[in-house]
């Protein structure tokens, strides 16, 4: 473990913020850190850029993180885990809710690699959509229709010519990912897709076993990014 300082906090809405660190963490998009907000818990968070995380308040630690003051010192283990496989061709990014976090990093990275990137981004309401200004080409979906497509992001994706894309990357709540997995399976596109998964993590370094999937993979080491075809969903 080492420490970094939170240099800047960008509040996106009442429960989501991006914390920018005072130093770059050598990493690849899709990797995560175990972040320890001292006095709270150590939790896994994907990098939303080489020097930031984007976090949504869902419990005690994430709440405290979203409200942290610049200058705060946090403990970091990692970055670790398996990153997304990059491409320099046509890429589709599919995000559900806070699942946008690792895809923001990937988005910037792929564009720098010269890829042609399009993002489908769903949330419950317009208010929950964050960092849209960072995205070059995107469409949004909201459950309540308050912005963009009226429905889920998977329903939006269903309307798209998915075959056009060389690679498809997705992150979001598991029900959304499972629905998207079904869609990709129908269209025989599972091979092209990578999903970033979440599981309860304890050690974050491959020994404790708490993040193990039914397939036997550890989310913290073999994941969090998995080829969709490897998932027995």
């Amino acid at each position: 473990m080492y420490c970094v300082k939170v240099e800047k906090v960008v509040r996106h809405n009442k429960d989501t913020a991006t914390l920018i660190f005072d130093s770059i963490l050598p990493s690849y998009p899709g990797q995560f850190v175990m972040l320890n907000l001292f006095g709270y818990e150590e939790i896994p968070l994907s990098l939303s850029s080489p020097r930031s995380i984007t976090v949504k308040a869902v419990g005690e630690t994430t709440k405290a993180l979203v409200n942290v003051n610049p200058g705060a010192i946090v403990g970091i283990k990692g970055p670790s885990g398996n990153p997304f496989t990059p491409t320099d061709t046509k890429a589709l990014l599919v995000a559900g809710g806070i699942g946008i976090a690792p895809l923001l990093y990937l988005h910037d990275y792929l564009i720098a690699e010269g890829a042609n990137v399009h993002v489908l981004y769903g949330a419950r309401t317009a208010d929950e959509l964050v960092c849209l200004e960072r995205l070059k080409s995107y469409e949004v979906a909201t459950d309540d229709g308050s912005k963009g497509f009226y429905g889920s992001v998977v329903e939006l994706a269903e309307l798209k010519p998915l075959r056009k894309y060389e690679r498809i990357y997705a992150c979001g709540p598991e029900p959304m990912l499972r629905a998207f997995h079904r869609l990709l399976k129908e269209r025989r596109l599972l091979d092209k897709a990578e999903f970033s998964l979440e599981r309860l993590m304890r050690c974050g370094m491959g020994v404790c076993g708490s993040c193990v999937l039914p397939e036997g993979f550890r989310v913290c080491v073999e994941g969090p990014v998995f080829n969709a075809a490897k998932l027995e969903w």
């Binding site: 320890n36 304890r202 076993g209």
Partner: protein, 296 residues
């Protein structure tokens, strides 16, 4: 050349997965069982238990320090989880149990018909009313073992702590209670402090040190137990290379357990097995012949 028979368990090699490492899900146990002589599941108690808050494991240059705190879903739920090992597992399954009293220990065995043997956690250094808290008292250890033996026909192993004045005393108590083998050792008490935040790195403040750092400490315990006990000794603590496996066997271990080294790779046991095969081919001796050879 690698096969070992340990208290009637037939093992394809002497390497067992240590308890608490990737042992909370049948899926990981099954995956590891492909190359393991046996696997030990994560310690389980009667009731569900949260364990400590994160961070529960930290690594340093010489090993790991953990204070997971015996988190477990409880015996009934865990037994359900383990069920699929019966059909898909490729080696014997050992269920590790923790409890506070002899009766509680004994009541646990009936939950696990899929177990090939039981390991008694008498040694976790960072749990209240369990682990070392019960395992450093020789009388209590004898009673626990005796009670558990009455509850099951299967082999029972006692896992011991190095954090005592005399591990042999505890080992002898377990032997008198009728235990089939001793496992040495669980983690060594330790802690680490982050100098930037000026706070202990583990939420529980202190925990147990495992990994390469503790290898000489564990080896000494195995040596002493082998010398003084009649029953087999299972060596654990810091084993990372095939040479470490041989070192423990020479010290008197009939089998070994490997935990922290999985940190380096899921395929650890596979590569150790390949190396041990090459070693035995070169020396022409089976590993079973080497047990305790350094005492000669």
């Amino acid at each position: 050349m690698l096969e070992v028979e340990l208290c009637s368990l037939k093992m394809k090699n002497p390497m067992m997965l240590a308890s608490g490492i990737l042992g909370s899900h049948a899926s990981s146990l099954i995956r590891i069982s492909k190359h393991a002589g046996a696997v030990v599941a994560k310690s389980v108690g009667l009731e569900a238990r949260e364990g400590y808050k994160n961070p529960v494991v930290i690594n340093y240059a010489h090993g790991l320090i953990n204070a997971v705190g015996l988190s477990s879903p409880g015996a009934r739920a865990f037994a359900e989880k383990l069920n699929s090992f019966k059909t898909e597992g490729r080696c014997p399954l050992i269920v590790s149990v923790f409890a506070s009293t002899p009766e509680e220990f004994a009541s646990l065995t009936s939950f696990f018909p899929m177990a090939d043997a039981f390991e008694l956690n008498l040694s976790c250094p960072h749990a209240e009313n369990a682990g070392m808290a019960v395992g450093s008292n020789p009388e209590l250890v004898r009673e626990i073992v005796a009670e558990v033996k009455r509850s099951t026909e299967k082999p029972v192993f006692a896992k011991l702590s190095p954090n005592v004045l005399d591990i042999v005393e505890i080992g002898k108590a377990a032997e008198e209670g009728g235990v089939d083998a001793v496992v040495a050792v669980n983690t060594v008490r330790g802690m680490s402090i982050d100098i930037t935040s000026r706070k202990p790195k583990l939420s529980n403040i202190s925990g147990g040190v495992s990994g390469e750092a503790i290898k000489p400490i564990a080896l000494k315990c195995v040596w002493d137990l082998y010398k003084e006990l009649e029953i087999p000794v299972i060596g654990v603590g810091g084993i990372t290379t095939w040479k470490d496996v041989v070192e423990f066997i020479l010290a008197g271990a009939t089998a070994v357990q490997i935990g922290s080294a999985l940190f380096y790779s899921y395929r650890m046991l596979y590569s150790l097995m390949e190396s041990l095969r090459a070693y035995t081919r070169q020396t022409g001796e089976s590993l079973a012949e080497l047990v305790g050879k350094a005492h000669e």
